[in-house]
């Protein structure tokens, strides 16, 4: 009977509506988190820029000898992979994980002992399930970067590099291009490449430079303290960018989901109204037919 169809449709509409409410709420939460995360990222930029400037200045002038610069033949490699803890953010996690798996596989194919350092539950699960070695994991960051977490991850990476557990540390994460676009990237983290900071300044350049700094304490000591700080700040900036991307991805995908739910509700409502009308018409015909028969 047609009446049953109406009932089924009503239930569907209700269920889609409640889903829509969830996606709408998640979109709004993600939007708020995105705004906060983006604000933080922008606020952190001057510090990071000044630090990089100073490092560049130093790298060109000081005699460079520091454990973090130590370039060794690569026998083991650590991949720091950053994703979210929770899903419902479109293809964000999958894009990062696909790139991560590709690079990790390539690294293993070179005969290099490769391990994964997971930030985010999704990475830990993904690589854990597929039989890769997970070096360490953090699954409780909840999409929020702060300098403490930056220090924690930075210290772990530096520790594993300095005690020669790994000869190279790379990072795979989604860089934030815009709210609509997040690009998964694979970057070197350790050893720090001096030429990545300075534009290849040499001894001769030093003499030409019009600024001769007074160093207090000496350049070597300064370098020793500045380098770890620089690295931790880089890790922090990377985390904060990855998490900003996560919120952006979640916001766009939840916004799309809300729109789709709206369209679905419209279509279902139309169908339900048609069926109801059909039921009424057929009932009316019955009544008219019955009345005529009398």
């Amino acid at each position: 009977m047609a009446g049953a169809g109406v009932k089924v449709l009503n239930t569907r509409i209700r269920s889609v509506k409640s889903t829509q409410q969830i996606t709408k709420a998640m979109k709004m939460v993600a939007a708020a988190k995105l705004a906060r995360s983006q604000g933080k990222m922008l606020a952190a930029r001057p510090y990071s820029q000044k630090l990089t400037e100073l490092m560049t200045e130093l790298a060109g002038k000081a005699e460079i000898a520091h454990p973090l610069f130590d370039v060794r033949p690569v026998k083991s490699r650590l991949y720091l992979v950053i994703t979210s803890d929770k899903g419902l953010c479109g293809s964000y996690n999958m894009n990062v994980l696909k790139l991560a798996q590709k690079t990790v596989d390539a690294s293993i194919a070179e005969g290099i002992e490769t391990q994964v350092y997971a930030v985010g539950r999704k990475v830990a699960e993904f690589f854990g399930k597929r039989g890769y070695t997970v070096f360490d994991k953090h699954t409780d960051f909840g999409g929020e970067a702060n300098s403490e977490r930056g220090n924690l991850v930075g210290n772990t990476a530096v520790g594993a590099f300095v005690d020669a557990t790994f000869d190279e540390v790379r990072v795979v994460y989604a860089s934030f291009i815009s709210t609509m676009t997040q690009q998964p990237v694979d970057q070197a983290l350790l050893p720090i490449a001096p030429d990545a900071m300075s534009s290849g300044e040499t001894e001769e350049d030093e003499k030409d430079s019009n600024l001769e700094y007074i160093w207090e304490p000496s350049q070597e000591e300064m370098f020793a303290t500045l380098l770890p700080l620089y690295l931790k700040n880089r890790v922090f900036m990377t985390l904060s960018e990855a998490f900003t991307s996560e919120h952006a991805a979640r916001m766009t995908s939840m916004s799309a989901a809300t729109e789709n739910a709206g369209e679905m509700i419209d279509a279902l409502t139309l169908q339900r109204n048609r069926e109801r009308q059909a039921t009424i018409t057929s009932e009316l015909l019955d009544i008219v037919g019955g009345a005529n028969a009398l």
């Binding site: 933080k40 606020a43 952190a44 001057p46 510090y47 990071s48 000044k50 630090l51 100073l54 200045e57 130093l58 300098s147 930056g150 600024l211 001769e212 700094y213 007074i214 160093w215 207090e216 304490p217 000591e221 300064m222 303290t225 500045l226 700040n233 922090f236």
Partner: protein
């Protein structure tokens, strides 16, 4: 009139201060660094302590408590990078004194040299906050 120069204090969270000053005192690792306009280019390590800025001839001053970091001085611009920075007016002296007391106790009770070093840093941070607050008022 004394020449002024630009001072920028940045932390990982924010740009804590940006403005002009005619003189500055900065807690360096090896002692306070006094800065006036046209200071020679300098890069220095900063220890937890109090930063004092003299803003104008009339004697208006600003005080900050800062954590460890670095200072770069060139072309009449002082760039101070530090992990924490609080302006004197916003410091809660009661909390700072409590923190100082706790840190002092830790200094006595800690076993390892690393822990003692941490406690020492905490003491100087708390002391800096109290100083910055006191100078402000």
């Amino acid at each position: 009139m004394a020449k002024s120069f630009k001072v920028v204090i940045v932390t990982p969270d924010k740009t804590a201060y940006e403005g002009d000053a005619i003189s500055a005192t900065i807690p360096g690792m090896a002692g306070y660094i006094g800065v006036w306009a046209n200071h020679a280019p300098l890069v220095g390590a900063v220890a937890p302590g109090m930063v004092g800025l003299k803003i104008d001839e009339a004697g208006s001053e600003k005080y900050f408590s800062v954590g460890t970091g670095f200072v770069e001085i060139s072309d009449n611009v002082v760039n101070l990078m530090t992990d924490t920075c609080e302006i004197g007016e916003e410091i809660d002296v009661v909390r700072a004194e409590e923190a100082l007391e706790r840190a002092r106790q830790r200094l006595v009770s800690m076993e390892t040299e690393l822990d003692r070093e941490r406690a020492r840093l905490a003491v100087s941070r708390a002391q800096a906050r109290i100083n910055a607050e006191k100078h402000t008022h």
